[in-house]
């Protein structure tokens, strides 16, 4: 008797699940196009994720006011992943359950990677405004992945191209600070330099962060016959290195990364900073669309744009534009549109290459001139 009741209850529960599922499905296919927004919206990295929600909302409001896309209104489904890979898989599963056709996010490279497998199986376009880890696109494992930020190795590309092609350097010393970021950058540079004919990496070493002085390594650079130094790391070591180099009359070009493209570097290294090259994201603050996006944000939320706001704005515009151009919400059609159509964004006119990296987004070389970083053409 009791067993029977339990069985009945179980069957009832199962039926209700199926029914609810069907209901949810049915609703998803009716009148809106759903786009997910995933990333850290709480926790200590929330400042990286929240601007992307606001960017997506601004873009979607703009499109909806004009009648939406493909005759349907766009609906955002916002999910938090706290930048944690283990949470990101749940976030992704939830968004899949909501039948989103594309996702703006995730924010952190680790969380993005964890979520990507799920989206890939469900054929959902995923576009991150901020995940810079190179293999996400380059490995070819995630054909559904796109990003509106340049990957870490793109910076090394720009640096090496500038050093070899523009400055015509043949013998280069590469130093790094042994940290994840600095060493990664230096290794990318080293690998790229080795592919260039006639260019020699005369020195590749890590320096001791916080050492009392760097005279030994500077003597070593001088002795190696290097024509330039590429340094991967942050500005405190860079300013120590450059001032000691100049004091020792080692007047070779100093090239570095966006950890050094910081005004503190100029303040600390003072006159020795003059002439230093550093790569950094291309400055797009004067782009009319970027100015408008920032004004809209101020008007609606009364806030300054936070981290990756423009990248997220560009990602949302790119996704919706691709849906519009494809005339469909099918994965293959959107994918093809993203890779063939150019779109006007706050980052400039962009499209995507076969790996999913944005074409037209990237790094530029800056040089310290008269105490300020100037973007070189």
């Amino acid at each position: 008797m009791k067993d029977n009741k339990k069985k009945k209850l179980l069957i009832l529960l199962l039926i209700s699940f199926v029914a609810l599922g069907a209901f949810a499905n049915g609703q998803g296919e009716t009148d809106t196009i759903k786009i997910g927004v995933a990333g850290a919206h709480s926790g200590d990295l929330a400042s990286y994720g929240i601007p992307s929600i606001k960017a997506a909302e601004l873009v979607v409001d703009m499109y909806n006011a004009k009648g939406g896309v493909l005759g349907k209104q766009i609906e955002l489904v916002i999910e938090d992943d706290v930048c944690k890979p283990e949470v990101a898989t749940n976030t992704a599963a939830k968004l899949v359950g909501e039948n989103v056709i594309a996702v703006i996010g995730h924010i952190c490279s680790g969380a993005t990677k964890a979520a990507l497998g799920i989206y890939k199986n469900e054929q959902i376009i995923t576009m991150s405004p901020s995940a810079t880890n190179p293999p996400l696109t380059k490995s070819g494992d995630y054909p559904n992945f796109f990003r509106t930020i340049a990957p870490d190795d793109a910076q090394a590309d720009v640096e090496v191209a500038f050093a070899v092609d523009k400055l015509g350097l043949k013998k280069i010393a590469v130093l790094h600070d042994k940290g994840d970021y600095g060493k990664g950058f230096a290794e990318f540079c080293n690998a790229l330099l080795e592919t260039k004919s006639g260019v020699e990496v005369v020195l590749f070493e890590g320096i001791q962060v916080g050492a009392v002085d760097y005279s030994a390594i500077i003597n070593k650079i001088a002795n190696s016959g290097a024509e330039a130094l590429i340094f991967g790391g942050y500005h405190p070591e860079a300013s120590k290195l450059i001032s000691q180099m100049r004091k020792k009359n080692l007047d070779i070009p100093f090239l570095s990364d966006d950890g050094v493209k910081d005004d503190t570097f100029i303040k600390v290294a003072a006159e020795y900073a003059e002439g230093v090259y550093a790569t950094g994201p291309v400055d797009t603050t004067s782009n009319p669309m970027a100015i408008k996006a920032t004004e809209d944000l101020m008007a609606k939320y009364g806030e300054e744009p936070g981290a990756f706001f423009l990248n997220a704005y560009a990602a949302t515009v790119a996704v919706i534009n691709a849906i519009e151009k494809a005339g469909s919400t099918e994965y293959a059609a959107i994918d093809a549109a993203l890779k063939s159509e150019y779109v006007e964004t706050p980052l400039g006119k962009i499209s995507f290459d076969k790996n999913g990296d944005a074409i037209g987004v990237g790094f530029a070389v800056y040089q310290v001139q008269n105490g300020a970083y100037i973007q070189l053409k």
Binding site: Q208, G210, A211, A222, P236, K247
Partner: protein
């Protein structure tokens, strides 16, 4: 073999060794007299550098001769740090003089963390530029790739400090009392030596040399922040142990060995292992001569 390169590394190693030596003196003297490892010593060095930065920065608005500013800033740093050293001893170590040694050691670590955070809050966590006060000497123009003005100054100042200190310890009444106190504190007290004064004096001298080291290195590298005392302090401590902690010539010898090892290690092997070289030497010495190079083996008193 490239002789010029060897010479540049040698001078670089001596410079680094000089800085370690100026700090290591404080460790070794304090240990020699009260058997305490003063872990807040690196922070005294850092405070010295900050004092010089503040005084130097303020004076540079007056349009005074930069070299004169440097001298005034150095003297101010030495006086201020010496006052810190003496106060540190009075507040944190004197009440614990008869407590177990471990208590004083923990007090020292506490003071180190306190000083770091105090400077962090009072100043900033950013790196600050140290004003360039010393002109580049013209006579060095040809060999500037071997040795810079600041390096030369470091070498000369260290040599002068070493000579003065040796004279003080060997030939003055205070030096004699210091040696006596380090041999047997109780006995020294019985023959009429004011042990408290001797200990204060030790902290004063040690802090003063550390502050001088701080000023010199800051003008050499051109930047400081609140954390510079930590690594420099640890290295100087290693140097003091290497030479035999408690022995003044030992600390100097250990410092130069450490500085030269790091410099030649970087120059001929790789800077990837710069810190490793220092600690490998330390381990080897401690295995084969546990009391350090010039350390005396102490007989336990019965």
């Amino acid at each position: 073999m490239n002789f010029e390169y060897f010479f540049a590394l040698l001078l670089g190693g001596l410079t680094r060794g000089s800085i370690y030596a100026l700090i290591a003196l404080g460790y070794t003297m304090v240990y020699g007299i009260i058997k305490l490892i003063n872990f807040a010593h690196g922070e005294i060095y850092m405070i010295g550098a900050f004092t010089a930065l503040i005084i130097g920065g303020a004076l540079s608005f007056t349009g005074m001769n930069p070299v004169l500013i440097f001298v005034i800033a150095s003297i101010a740093a030495i006086i201020y740090s010496a006052a810190y050293g003496v106060t540190l001893e009075k507040l944190a170590y004197r009440p614990l003089r008869n407590a177990p040694r471990l208590s004083a050691l923990i007090s020292a670590i506490g003071m180190s963390i306190f000083f770091q955070n105090y400077v962090l809050l009072a100043q900033t966590s950013d790196f600050l530029p140290f004003p360039t006060l010393l002109p580049r000497l013209k006579i060095l123009a040809l060999i500037e790739h071997l040795i810079s003005t600041t390096q030369l100054l470091i070498l000369i100042s260290t040599a002068v400090v070493m000579i003065l200190l040796t004279l003080l310890i060997q030939f003055t009444k205070m030096g004699k009392s210091m040696r006596a106190t380090s041999q047997d504190k109780q006995m020294a007290q019985l023959v009429g030596i004011n042990v408290d004064n001797v200990i204060s004096m030790t902290f004063l001298i040690g802090s003063a040399t550390a502050a001088l080291g701080g000023v010199l290195i800051s003008s050499h590298t051109g930047q400081i922040n609140f954390y510079i005392g930590f690594i420099a302090g640890i290295k100087a401590f290693v140097a003091a142990v290497l030479g035999g902690i408690g022995s003044v010539p030992g600390a100097v010898l250990g410092s130069f060995i450490l500085g030269l090892t790091e410099s030649f290690g970087t120059g001929y092997i790789s800077s990837d292992y710069e810190d490793a070289f220092a600690f490998i030497i330390l381990i080897l010495i401690l295995i084969f001569k546990p009391s350090g190079l010039l350390g005396r083996k102490e007989n336990e008193k019965v």
